[in-house]
């Protein structure tokens, strides 16, 4: 994953869109799937996992290995999250 440098981007540069946003996720130890996530200091329970898929790419330089899950939250909202297998961290990202 390409980490954000945090630097102000100049107008003449390309600004990446839809960068992954780190998110705190509670995971079921057995299945590895999210049970709840924390957004703006609020815990939001996952009602069900609607879809799950893997993205493995760029093994020839910085390997990318992600497991995406599309979850339906208990309040009806839909979020797409992924678990970065390289850094063992969770992110939110529209797919």
């Amino acid at each position: 994953m390409v980490a954000s440098s945090g630097a102000e981007t100049g107008a003449d540069r390309l600004r990446p869109l839809n960068l992954p946003r780190p998110i705190q996720v509670t995971v079921d130890q057995q299945s590895g799937l999210p049970l709840a996530l924390r957004e703006r200091h609020r815990r939001r329970e996952v009602e069900c996992v609607q879809d799950s898929w893997y993205v493995d790419d760029e093994w020839w330089r910085d390997p990318i290995s992600r497991r995406y899950v599309q979850v339906l939250l208990r309040d009806g909202a839909i979020r797409t999250l992924f678990h970065d297998h390289i850094t063992d961290r969770w992110f939110e990202q529209s797919y």
């Binding site: 107008a11 390309l14 839809n18 609607q50 990202q93 797919y95």
Partner: protein, 397 residues
């Protein structure tokens, strides 16, 4: 814990025999797919007795054994045969694993099935009976997966070999090292070192094996000593929808194929199982004139409905090279998920009023040095990584 393994050596050749059973016992060789390199892909023991081996040119094979029969692979038929065998085995055990690296190798967990299937030997015999005899299947039973597999390869066709749990290491020691699940290059390296049997490998110090062959080598060393904790992983049953079509005349033109594919996709989406649902993957199978087959899997970047699917398959059809005229087509859709909607822009937002925007941009530039206006540009719209697909670039009208 008892694990049974059923193996069908030379699986592709045994499947080819289903069409021509009279060839059973003749020296058989599996040739290439149409257009492939003319080499031997597999050979039966009858052909091997004449010196024909995998990798040999077909001309040399015929020179060594003039009565050899060269059969063409038929991946569609092989998949169908494997599926039929698995379905038969799953009638007796819920946990049946198919080895993706070794066609014709099935592992079955017998745990908890004693009351239904009897003791392990009887259970394995019952499993064996579900496989047609023409395949010459053989079975092995052991407490671990790898040992059961070695036992199965060591058994005679139609028989079962049961390994005593107390003698696993002694049983494995004389078995050929080629049975280890390692890539071909690692097998070559093992052979170059003079290691012929599992016992040869097991006798080496683990540190030396790991230093030379890495994690895979360590794993192989453990297997050679009978240490295998891998459970039988029952296959998943993904929901699929498939539609087939026999063409009135074998088709060679892309236009005809596209029309047939469109028809199949629309027929599939008419079914209740696909109502309000999207599809992630499509497997296209073609039966070719002359009995050959062809198969291709297309995975969509994002799940889509019938329009997106037809569009994606259209691109594939334009670039595909079929080895012959297509007699029948099958479309199998998998990765089914509930459809999600995309919000379209309201009509009013489409009018950008470019002149006003250009004016505003000019004012902003004069005041701040930069307008701060950007537009979205697609850079790698095909990328599987969402952050690579689009970027913001400065809006400069």
């Amino acid at each position: 814990m008892s694990i049974a393994c059923i193996v069908i050596p030379h699986f592709a050749l045994r499947v080819a025999l289903l069409d021509r059973p009279e060839l059973d016992g003749a020296p058989l060789v599996l040739g290439p797919t149409r257009g492939g390199r003319p080499i031997v892909n597999d050979a039966t023991p009858e052909a091997a007795a004449h010196g024909v081996r995998t990798g040999l040119g077909l001309r040399e094979a015929v020179a060594l054994c003039p009565e050899v029969v060269i059969l063409a692979p038929h991946p569609v038929r092989e998949n169908a045969a494997a599926e039929q065998i698995i379905v038969g085995l799953e009638m007796l055990s819920p946990a049946v694993e198919i080895d993706a690296r070794q066609p014709g190798c099935f592992t079955i967990d017998l745990t908890g099935l004693e009351r239904r299937l009897g003791p392990p030997r009887l259970a394995a015999e019952r499993l064996l009976a579900t496989v047609p005899a023409l395949f010459r299947p053989r079975a092995g039973v052991a407490p671990t997966k790898f040992t059961a597999r070695v036992a199965a390869y060591g058994a005679a066709p139609g028989t079962v070999q049961v390994v005593d749990p107390n003698t696993i290491q002694d049983f494995l020691a004389p078995a050929p090292i080629s049975l280890l699940p390692l890539p071909p290059d690692k097998h070559q390296r093992l052979e170059r070192l003079g290691l012929r049997t599992l016992g040869d490998l097991a006798d080496l110090p683990v540190a030396a094996v790991q230093a030379r062959f890495g994690a895979k080598g360590r794993q192989a060393w453990e297997l050679a000593r009978g240490n295998d904790r891998e459970p039988v992983r029952a296959r998943l049953h993904p929901e699929t929808v498939s539609e087939s079509l026999t063409l009135p005349v074998p088709a060679t033109s892309r236009e005809t194929l596209l029309i047939a594919i469109t028809r199949l996709v629309l027929r599939a989406f008419d079914r209740t199982a696909l109502r309000n649902r999207h599809v992630r993957q499509v497997r296209l199978r073609a039966s070719l004139e002359g009995g050959q087959a062809w198969e291709q899997v297309t995975t969509l970047r994002e799940p889509g409905g019938h329009k997106r699917l037809i569009e994606a398959l259209g691109y594939r059809v334009q670039s595909m090279v079929l080895p012959g005229p297509v007699a029948a087509l099958t479309v199998e859709l998998s990765g089914l998920i509930d459809a999600t909607s995309c919000q379209e822009l309201l009509p009013g937002f489409h009018s950008r009023r470019p002149r006003q925007l250009a004016e505003a941009s000019r004012h902003l530039k004069q005041r701040f040095g930069t307008s701060g206006l950007y537009r979205v540009a697609e850079v790698e719209p095909w990328s599987r990584l969402p952050e690579r697909r689009q970027v913001l670039i400065a809006y400069d009208p």
